[in-house]
Amino acid sequence: MGQGSSESMKTEELEEYQVLLCFPLSRIHDTFKNMCSPGEGYREAKMTSEQVCSWPQLKVNPFRDRICHVFSTDDYFTFEDILGMASVFSEKACPWLKIEYAFFIYDFNENGFIDEEDLQIIIRRLLNSDDIKEEELISLMNHVLDEADLDNDGMLSLAEFEHVMTKSPDFVLSFQIHF
């Protein structure tokens, strides 16, 4: 593990993380070990988004670039950013926390709303194929907006997204990553 990372986490720090995160204590150790490259203490270690995107848990995820963008600061991941990400995706995190982060992840153009452009990108990435017909795409988009767009402005705001995701039975189960 290298000389610099021989500083292990003190108990108070562990306690602190335990209070601030939804992430179980034992796995913090493992994440910490994964993080450190030789010669760096964990406080100073930084990883780039590409490195994190190549982790096995994120490698096949169609939304990995958005995940990395939302959780990183200036496209670099510090140790605490990783912890924050792991905390949101853990199974103990509460549903509304996951819903908020899901909204940020799905908002591709970052205008604060999930509009039709975002929906198109989401559907294309989910299906991962280029042979989807235009009218099918539009039909799917219209169905989503029918169900979720309460004020009929053609976009989903956070409140509307939250409203429809709390009724969704699959969301909490599927929005989990085990780090």
């Binding site: 490698k59 799905y106 989910l126 194929s129 004020d151 009929n152 429809v164 699959d170």
Partner: protein
């Protein structure tokens, strides 16, 4: 939502007051920037974890340190009721630390009582967290199920979680039965504690009812007899604590307490049935805590499929590819179904009549197939029972085959009937989703009704005597001196055979198939392909086994232990089968709807288990030659008898509760409460609809005003 179409078409020509969007190519940026200046957007912004930039650089919002502190102060002081701790805020770590410091600084201003409450709730939360973490280590197969989830997605993982749930349920039932029934009886029989045996009151019973000998336990016995006895529950196994006949202890003296074993037997049976019911209902409700007002089918919602469609836990590239293709299939099928629904709505009366006639005809065929199955099962059971009674005392392999005849017929019927059903349903012209559901329901019915037919045929044989109409003992004492043990044996055989079949199919059919498909180059085999890991069939197998366990536990108290071991081994068999010999199903299976489906089918099985048990406890005469209920006419009679021994006041209260004077007003009160809740739900639904309409109007007003403002700005 029918006016939604107008709102979303950007160029529907002409400016009128109803149109929301300008027929202008760059209409979007101004509207969106305006929307971003609204207070509602700003409040959402405060909750963003990192900086926000808009597309064209306008409205660049970056929090300065001073601003964040004030924002965090705002967050810290106001109490959001649903947020209980810092970890539930969507902020990054340094902001959470600041928030925590602010909160701790604020606690100085709280009164002593509030401070104490806060510290108490904090330590309570910590304690809960630690226990949860410890219990997650004890969770069975956690690592295996995680692996499966990563490689195959949450749909298949839900099947294995279901298996784990059944192992736990059976283990708990076994612990219950063992500690309340088997342990006292065994302890008393071996002389550790004083106990009295059940005594038949001599005057009320004919002596021939009490004769009960177990064949094949005396004298020189060959080794293979042991194996046959083990497989069919006869011989040496019949007198062990596995079966009802062993429990002849009446009361166990434990210091001052007299432990009433027959009462305990009955009450423990009711207890495990209620425990199963409560546990299953609790599990099925857990998935629905969030959805309160459900006017649409939540499983079929497009938002659910698109936003929650991807399993973020998948780590395997093949699983990812499979997930993509199954999502594609699912969404295309849903669109297809929309089209079909429209087509169905446009059917003419002629077509409708034709289709209904066809459906009635095909349903008659289905009924004919079912009757065929049931009749053949009935005859097989009767034949098997006759041969057993004739050949008793000479166990040999033929006898074994005859003993397993009902099990074999059931397995055959469970295999053939679904094939016929899936063939028939193609002609009935339903929508794809309904087809799947109807076929599943039919298969469930076949599997569970088979058990019912078996028990019914056994029941008729037990209660029908050759000549005297069974007035002597109330049941056929010549053939079935201890009929409960016999029923227990049948259930035991069914369970063993089920287990053998599952094992045999995996080892002798799936593995060779995989070897052939991998190594041979014949086109025919390649076209056949590997066995598909079809979840519905596997679930029905398991529910069938569990129903047998529930019914059989009354007659064979240690059966849950066998069921636990069986499901434990089946987990590993299925896991190996999934990883190595099967290909995953192309039809998508969502975790939430699968969970619901599994639990509904399990519940149907449980309800079916209630019926024969209830009937046998209250209508059939309990056997006089064995078991704890020889003193009583029927098993249920032990309860009124015990109530008679209670003090007079308690007896009066209990009689009062059971009488009509209490039951009718109670029923009326329950009905009133139910009507109240139905009315409340209706009122809420109306309010929700009204609020929705208001929201739509508000949004229209807002966009109209924005448009006017933009126009005014442009002209000025």
């Amino acid at each position: 939502m029918s006016e939604a179409g107008a709102a979303r078409e950007p160029d529907s020509g002409g400016i009128n007051d109803n149109e929301v969007f300008l027929p202008d190519t760059n209409h979007l940026p101004p509207t969106v920037t305006f929307l971003q200046e609204l207070p509602s957007y700003q409040s959402m912004l405060r909750r963003r974890p990192s900086t926000v930039r808009t597309r064209d650089g306008q409205g660049f919002v970056r929090r300065s340190p001073v601003e964040s502190r004030s924002i965090l102060e705002g967050l810290g002081v106001e109490s959001l009721d649903r947020v209980q701790s810092i970890r539930e805020y969507p902020l990054n770590m340094s902001q959470k630390r600041q928030l925590r410091d602010i909160q701790e600084a604020n606690t100085k201003y709280l009164s002593g009582w509030d401070q104490w409450k806060q510290t108490r709730s904090k330590s309570w939360r910590k304690f809960l967290d630690e226990t949860k973490e410890l219990s997650s280590y004890l969770e069975l197969w956690r690592h295996d199920i995680r692996n499966i989830e990563g490689k195959f997605g949450t749909g298949i993982q839900s099947y294995f979680s279901f298996l784990r749930f059944l192992v736990l349920l059976n283990f708990v039932i076994f612990v219950l039965m063992f500690s309340f029934i088997t342990l006292p009886s065994a302890v008393s029989k071996h002389g550790v504690l004083n106990g009295s045996y059940v005594k038949v009151p001599p005057k009320s019973i004919e002596p021939q009812c009490t004769v009960y000998t177990v064949s094949g336990t005396k004298g020189l016995i060959y080794f293979y007899n042991y194996i046959i006895d083990l497989l069919s529950g006869t011989g040496f196994l019949e007198m062990t604590s596995l079966f009802y006949g062993y429990y002849t202890i009446d009361k166990v003296q434990f210091n001052v307490i007299k432990y009433n074993v027959p009462l305990a037997y009955l009450l423990t049976t009711l207890a495990y049935l209620s425990l199963s019911l409560i546990w299953i209902v609790k599990r099925s409700v857990e998935g629905f805590k969030q959805s309160l007002i459900r006017d649409e089918d939540q499983f079929q919602s497009y938002c659910n499929k698109i936003f929650a469609g991807w399993d973020f836990c998948i780590t395997d590239i093949n699983a990812a590819r499979l997930k993509h293709s199954s999502l594609q299939y699912e969404l295309k099928t849903d669109l297809e179904e929309e089209r079909l629904r429209q087509k169905i709505a446009e059917r003419t009366t002629d077509q409708k009549l034709r289709i209904y006639c066809l459906r009635i005809f095909l349903n008659i065929i289905v009924l004919a197939v079912l009757s065929g199955c049931f009749y053949s099962l009935f005859r097989a059971t009767v034949f098997s029972q006759e041969k057993i009674s004739n050949d008793s005392g000479k166990p040999n392999v033929d006898n074994l085959l005859v003993q397993y005849l009902p099990s074999m017929v059931i397995t055959l019927a469970n295999f053939i009937a679904p094939l016929i059903f899936s063939l028939i349903i193609k002609f009935e012209d339903y929508s794809p989703a309904f087809e799947i559901r109807l076929t599943l329901m039919r298969c469930v019915f076949v599997r569970l009704a088979n058990i019912g037919v078996l028990l019914f045929s056994l029941g008729t044989r037990i209660t029908s005597c050759a000549s005297e109409k069974c007035t002597a003992c109330g049941y056929n004492y010549k053939l079935y001196p201890c009929w409960e043990s016999r029923v227990g044996q049948e259930m035991y055989k069914l369970m063993i055979f089920d287990f053998i079949i599952i094992f045999a199919i995996t080892v002798f059919v799936d593995f060779p198939r995989k070897l052939i498909v991998t190594y041979s180059s014949w086109k025919a085999f390649q076209w056949c392909g590997l066995q598909e890991f079809a979840i519905p069939d596997k679930v029905l197998e398991i529910v069938y086994g569990q129903t047998i366990c529930w019914i059989g536990t009354f007659y064979s108290p240690l059966l849950p232990a066998i069921a636990t071991i069986k499901y434990f081994v089946i987990f590993y068999i299925k896991k190996i089968s999934l990883m190595h010999t099967c290909r995953p199903s192309t039809r998508p299976f969502r975790a939430s709807s699968s969970n619901f489906f599994f639990l509904v089918v399990l519940l149907i099985g449980l309800v079916l288990a209630f019926i024969p048990l209830g009937l046998s406890m209250t209508h059939l005469r309990s056997s006089k030659a064995c078991g704890p209920f020889v003193n009583f006419n029927r098993s249920w009679d032990v309860v009124p008898y015990t109530i008679h021994t209670f003090p007079a006041a308690l007896r009066k209260v209990l009689n009062g509760i059971a009488s009509e004077a209490f039951a009718v007003p109670f029923f009326m009160v329950i009905c009133l409460v139910m009507f109240y809740f139905i009315a409340l739900a209706g009122a809420h639904k109306r309010v929700v609809d009204q609020l929705r309409e208001q929201l739509v109007m508000e949004s229209r007003d807002k966009l109209f005003l924005i448009r006017k403002l933009t126009e005014a700005q442009r002209h000025s």
